[in-house]
Symmetry: C2
Subunit: 641 residues, 2 copies
C-alpha cells in the first residue's frame, strides 16, 4: 500500500526533469527503468531537445497571434474529460469558442433542465437525470471520401459507457446511447466506408472499445478470469448498438481503415490482470483487428449470443474461436508492452501503435492484415513492417501528409517527428536510414496530439496541437487545481516551432482539427424543428386541464409575450418558450427564482420545462441572457396563489 | 405583444450599425430616439470612432501576445453568469486559467457530488441539492488600505439570491448564504473600511442589492404597489446577514466609499413598475446612499422590523421615513433615466452613475453627500458636481488613476475615455473644457468594463477589459449560441489601443483585474485541513456498522491503497479518499461506473461521497484525472454482493 513513499516525500517546486522523475516515473521502475538508460537507437538522431530552442517564430510572424477581428482558419473539436462536454476551438489561436454539453448538465443553456435535453440525456422513473457525471475522452467526426463531411461528431463517456452524437449544423448533442454490458468505454472511431458496398463511401458505423473486463452479465463474481470485454458497433444514424464482439484482453483506443474493411483497438491488458503490476507483466500486448464484413455476416447468419437483458448480438472474437485465418473475425497482432494509442496514416496504408511502457512505435501494414485474413500470411505479426525506438513513453501519433509521423513521448515530455518510410527501411535492416527527423520539448507530459486534418486523406501538415497533462509553472498559480496546457506547434517546416501555450480546464484528452470550410453551421433555428413551438405571440396563454397546466410564452426583445401569468399552488406546470427573435446571436434566457429553472432559447428555438408550483408567492421570471438595452427590465411575473 | 415585429422581420448577417439598430434599439424608441439625433455636447470631442483605426500596436509589440511560457502580469476574476461560477483569467493574454464552481454543480471537480461541496451548496431534506441553477454577475474582492488583500472574493447569484465567498488562497468557494426576503439579488460590493473604527481599515461587510420588489413576506399578492426591495449587509467573516434596509425603488449595482461611511446603489426603477414601459417612464431615477454608521446604530437601538421567518433586522430606509437629513439613514440623489452602474473613483472622491437610457454620466461628490447627512447641504442632488453627455447607452465606468474615466456605451458599441475634472469644469459652466479624451469602437454592445486595479487606490491605467455581449462575426461560427467577446484594450497611452478579442462562454458580466503579486495562492493542501483525512495508507479499509459502511482509501500514483473492496447490496456507504501525493499538480480522480460518482482530490486533499450500494456487480473505480504513465491502469474494484 505504501510502495510510493518516495514520491510523497518530494517537496513541491521541482525542476522540470526531476518533476518527470517523480510524478511520472514513480512506480514505473519495473516497466521503464530498463529503457530509461538505453541509448537512442542508431536511427534516432538528432538528440532530444536539440531543436527546441533553435527554431522560433519571430513574434510578428507567430500564426497563433491573430489580430483583433481576424478569424481562425481551422476548427478544433476537443473532448472535455470529466466535464462531459465537447469543446470547439478556433485554431491556430487556440481560443475556445463553444462548449457543447452532452452527458452532464450545463447550467448556461439549461442542459439537464429543459424537457428536450432531459430526453436526450436519459431520466429515471421519477423524471430526474439518470447520470450527472461523465468522462469524455475521444471525439471523432463523420467521414465522406476520406475527409470530414460536417454531419456528425461522436464522443464517449467512459464512466457510464455512453456514446453521444453531435449535430455539426447546430453544434448540439442530439442522441445518447448506453452500451450494454460494457464498463469503461474508452476508444471510439467512425468507419470511413462500407466494407462491402463501394457506393457507401461515408460513415455509417461507429466503433467503441470496452476497456474494463467484467462478468457477463455483471453478477459480481470475484473470479477475474471469468471477466471479459466487448467491442461494440453503433449505427451512425439510429444510434442503436448493431453488434458486439467478445474478445480476449481489453480495448483501449480505436482506429478504422479508409476502405471500411478493418477496425482495430490497441490492448494494454492482454494479461487480463486486475492490478497494474499484473497488467504490465507481459512484454508484448496486442493490436486487435476486426474483420467488419465477416462479423456482420456472422451476425446475419445467427452465429451470436446475447448477455443478460441486452438483445444486442455478440459474436465470438476470442483467440481460441478464431484460429483459422480464413474464417477468423479477429486477428491479434502483437505489439510491445501496454500500448496506448493506435492511429491510421493518411495514406491509408498503416496503423501505428505506440508502446507506452516500451520506447517504440509499431507500424502495421493493413494490406498484410487483409492478406492474413485471406490465408496469405502465416501469422498476424508478419503484418508488422516496422518497430522502432522513439523515446520514453510514446503514446499517440499524428501525421502531416508528407510521410512524417509525430508521436508524443509522455515520459520524455517531447514530441518526436519521424519518417514512416525511413522507419520501415531501418526496421528492414538499412541502419543508415535516419527515421527521427526532429524533436521538441513540450510542457509537460503530453498525452494526445493531433495535426490539422491528420486523420483524413487531406492531412495538410500545418499545425499540431499537443495536450499536455501537466502545466505546472506555465501559467499564474490558481491554487491546487492546475489547468492543462494545450500547446500549439507549427509543423509546416522541417523544424517544429512552438507557437503558444493555451491553458484549458481539465481534462481534454483527444481532439481533431480540420479546415473551417468543411463546416457550414446554421446560426438561427427554424420554428418547424420544434413540435411545441409557439409560433405567434397571440398563441401565448395559460391552458388548464385540472392540475395539469400548460404555459405558452414567446420572447421578442425586450419583452416576454405575457407580462404576468397566474398558477395555483400544486399545479403541474409545463412552460413552453419560443424565441421569436430572428437576429443571429439574439438569445434569451428564462429563470424562475427559487424554482430551480433557468434555460436559454436561441433565435427561433423552442424549449420547455416542467415543474410543480409548490411554492406560493410572486416570482419575477427574468431574461438571464443579455439581449437588449432593456434586458434588465425584461421580466414576466409568475404569481402562485 | 407583437410590438417588435420589425425586429423579427430582419435577416441575419446585418452590417454592424444596422445590427445595433435592430438588436439593441428595438423597443427603445420611446426612451432613446430623442437622444440618438442629438449632437454631441460641446465638450464631447473627438467624434465617435475617430481614433479606433488610427492607433494600433504593431503585432510584435502587442502585450496580449505572450511568448510560450511567459506569465501574465495580472489576475482577472470574472463572474460566469448562468454557469454559476467564477473564472480566473490571466491578463493581458486573456487566457482562462481556472473556473471556481460556486452555486452550480461542476462535474470536473465533483462539486455537488462530494459531501463537502454539498454542505457548502445547501441540500434539501433528502440530501439532494437545493438548487442547480444560478446567475452570477458581480465579483469583488476583500480590501485592506484601499487595495485588494488577497483574502476573499464574493459573487452573487441573482436567481436564488445567494452570495458565495471564495477563499483566494486555494481558489475555492467555502461559504454560501441565501438572503431572506430578497429576489433578484444583483449588485454586490465589500466595504473598504469601518465607518466608525479607524483601526478596521479592511473589509468586514459585503453589501448586496435586491433588484426585484416583492411582497414582504412573499404572500403572492397581485398589488404591485405593496412590493418592496431590501438592501442587505452580510458579515464578511461569518457570512451571516447582519441587517437589511427597506427602500423605495429597487437596487441595481453597488459601490462603497474608501472611508467606509457610505454605500450606494443605483436605481433604475424608482417608478416601481412591473412592466418595462413603466420602469422607464420617469426622466430621472436615483443613486441611493446608505449611511452605514447610522444604520448600525439604529439596529443596535432596536429600531427595526423583521419579515416572515427571517430574524434579520430590517431598518426603514424609505423616503418618507428619512426626510430629516440629520437623522436620515438614506439619501436619494436623482440621476437620469434607468442608470445601470455606479462606480467609485480611485481618488475616493466620487461615485459615477451612467444613464443607460440617458446619454449622460452623473458625478456625485461623496464629501457633499456626507455634508447632506450633517445638514450642511440643502438637498441630496446638490452633491451632483457633473452630469455630462458621453454617447448612447452609457453603462459602467472604470478608471486609470490619472483622472480619467472609461465608460461603456452599449448602443454606440464604444468605450469613451473622459476626464472627470474637465467634466466637472464643463458642468460648472466652462464650455471650453474638453472632457472627452478618446473613443474606441468595440465589437459589440459592451456591458461591464474594468481597468487594471481600477476599483482600488492603486489604479494603474495599464489595461482595460471590455465585456462585449455580442460577438456576431468576430469568431468562427459555432451554431446559434455565440460566445461573448471580452476585448482587451491597452490604456497606457493617450489613445486606447485594441489588443485582442477573447471569446468567452456566456455570460460573464463583471470582473476585476489586479496585480499578480497581490495573491499568494497555495498549491498543495495540508492534511490537517480535512477532519476526515486518511493520513496513512495503513488506515485504509472498510468499516461496517450494520448497514452503515465507511470505506477509507488513499491515492498515491499510480495506485489506490486498496485494490478492491466489498460491499453488500443495500449498504449505506460513505467513501473517504485522501490524496497522499504531495507533488504540485498531481491530482487524482475517482469514478464509480453507474453509481453517478466522480470527483477529484488535489494533492493532500480529502473528499467524501455517500451512496447506497443498490446495484450488484463488479464496478471498476478508476482514476479520472491524468496522473501518471500508469494512470489508465490505476483502478480499484468495488464488488457489490
Amino acid at each position: 500500500m505504501n510502495e510510493d513513499k518516495k514520491n510523497s516525500a518530494e517537496a513541491p517546486g521541482l525542476a522540470r526533469r526531476r518533476f518527470i522523475n517523480t510524478a511520472a516515473l514513480t512506480g514505473l521502475t519495473l516497466g521503464v527503468a530498463a529503457c530509461s538508460d538505453k541509448k537512442s537507437g542508431d536511427g534516432a538522431a538528432p538528440a532530444a531537445g536539440a531543436s527546441a530552442a533553435a527554431a522560433q517564430h519571430s513574434a510578428a510572424a507567430n500564426p497563433s497571434h491573430l489580430k483583433p477581428g481576424e478569424l481562425d482558419s481551422y476548427y478544433g473539436l476537443w473532448s472535455g474529460g470529466h466535464t462531459g462536454d465537447v469543446r470547439v476551438l478556433g485554431l491556430p489561436s487556440g481560443r475556445e469558442i463553444l462548449r457543447i454539453p452532452c452527458f452532464n448538465p450545463d447550467a448556461l443553456v439549461g442542459w439537464g433542465i429543459t424537457n428536450e435535453s432531459k430526453k436526450v440525456m436519459g431520466t429515471k422513473a421519477d423524471g430526474s437525470l439518470r447520470y450527472t457525471v461523465a468522462d469524455t475522452h475521444h471525439v471523432h467526426a463523420s467521414y465522406k471520401d476520406g475527409n470530414y463531411d460536417g454531419r456528425y461528431a461522436w464522443v464517449n463517456d467512459k464512466i457510464n459507457s455512453r456514446i453521444a452524437r453531435i449535430r455539426l449544423d447546430y453544434f448540439i448533442c442530439d442522441k445518447i446511447t448506453e452500451l450494454p454490458n460494457v464498463q469503461g468505454f474508452h476508444g471510439i472511431f467512425p468507419d470511413k466506408a462500407d466494407p462491402v458496398d463501394p457506393k457507401i463511401n461515408y460513415t455509417t458505423r461507429v466503433f467503441c472499445g470496452g476497456e474494463f473486463a467484467i462478468p457477463l452479465p455483471n453478477t459480481g463474481t470475484e473470479d477475474g478470469s471469468k471477466y471479459r470485454s466487448l467491442f461494440s458497433c453503433v449505427d451512425a444514424e439510429t444510434m442503436d448498438v448493431r453488434w458486439q464482439v467478445l474478445i480476449d484482453g481489453n480495448c483501449d483506443l480505436v482506429a478504422t481503415s479508409y476502405d471500411g474493411k478493418l477496425a482495430a483497438t490497441n490492448q494494454y491488458n492482454t494479461e487480463m490482470g486486475a492490478k497494474y503490476e499484473d497488467m504490465m507483466s507481459a512484454e508484448r500486448d496486442a493490436c486487435l483487428f476486426f474483420n467488419v464484413a465477416r462479423i456482420e455476416a456472422a451476425v446475419k447468419a445467427g452465429k451470436f449470443k446475447t448477455y443478460g437483458d441486452s438483445k444486442v448480438p455478440v459474436v465470438d472474437g476470442t483467440r481460441d474461436a478464431n484460429k483459422d485465418p480464413k474464417t477468423a473475425l479477429t486477428a491479434y497482432v502483437s505489439v510491445p508492452k501496454n500500448p496506448h494509442g493506435v492511429n491510421a496514416s493518411p495514406d491509408a496504408k498503416y496503423f501505428i501503435c505506440a508502446g507506452k511502457l516500451s520506447p517504440t512505435a509499431t507500424v502495421i501494414e493493413l494490406a498484410k492484415v487483409l492478406d492474413y485474413f485471406e490465408g496469405k500470411l502465416e501469422a498476424p505479426d508478419k503484418a508488422i513492417v516496422a518497430e522502432v525506438e522513439l523515446g520514453l513513453g510514446p503514446l499517440h501519433t499524428a501525421f502531416d501528409g508528407r510521410g512524417n509521423a509525430y508521436t508524443t513521448l509522455f515520459l520524455d515530455s517531447q514530441v518526436v517527428k519521424w519518417n514512416v518510410d525511413a522507419a520501415i527501411k531501418f526496421h528492414g535492416g538499412d541502419k543508415s536510414a535516419k527515421y527521427v527527423v526532429d524533436r521538441i520539448d513540450v510542457q509537460y507530459q503530453p498525452g494526445h496530439l493531433n495535426a490539422s486534418q491528420s486523420e483524413t486523406r487531406a492531412a495538410d501538415g500545418k499545425y499540431l496541437a499537443v495536450g499536455c497533462k501537466f502545466s505546472k509553472d506555465r501559467f499564474l498559480p490558481v491554487g491546487p487545481l492546475h489547468p492543462e496546457n494545450e500547446q500549439m506547434i507549427d509543423i509546416s517546416g522541417d523544424k517544429m516551432v512552438l507557437m503558444a501555450d493555451h491553458p484549458v480546464r481539465g481534462e481534454p484528452h483527444d481532439f481533431i482539427i480540420f479546415k473551417r470550410d468543411l463546416l457550414k453551421p446554421k446560426q438561427v433555428y427554424t420554428l418547424d424543428e420544434f413540435p411545441l413551438a409557439v409560433k405567434d405571440p397571440k398563441d401565448s396563454g395559460v391552458e388548464r386541464n385540472g392540475k395539469k397546466v400548460t404555459v405558452r410564452l414567446t420572447s421578442l426583445a425586450p419583452a416576454f409575450s405575457m407580462r404576468e401569468f397566474k398558477l395555483k399552488r400544486g399545479d403541474e406546470v409545463t412552460l413552453i418558450l419560443t424565441n421569436l427573435d430572428k437576429v443571429e446571436d439574439l438569445t434569451h434566457g428564462f429563470a424562475i427564482p427559487k424554482y430551480n429553472v433557468n434555460f436559454i432559447v436561441n433565435p427561433q428555438e423552442t424549449a420547455s420545462v416542467s415543474f410543480v408550483a409548490d411554492k406560493p408567492g410572486v416570482f419575477w421570471c427574468y431574461c438571464t441572457h443579455f439581449c437588449h438595452a432593456l434586458h434588465l427590465e425584461m421580466r414576466t411575473r409568475m404569481i402562485v396563489e
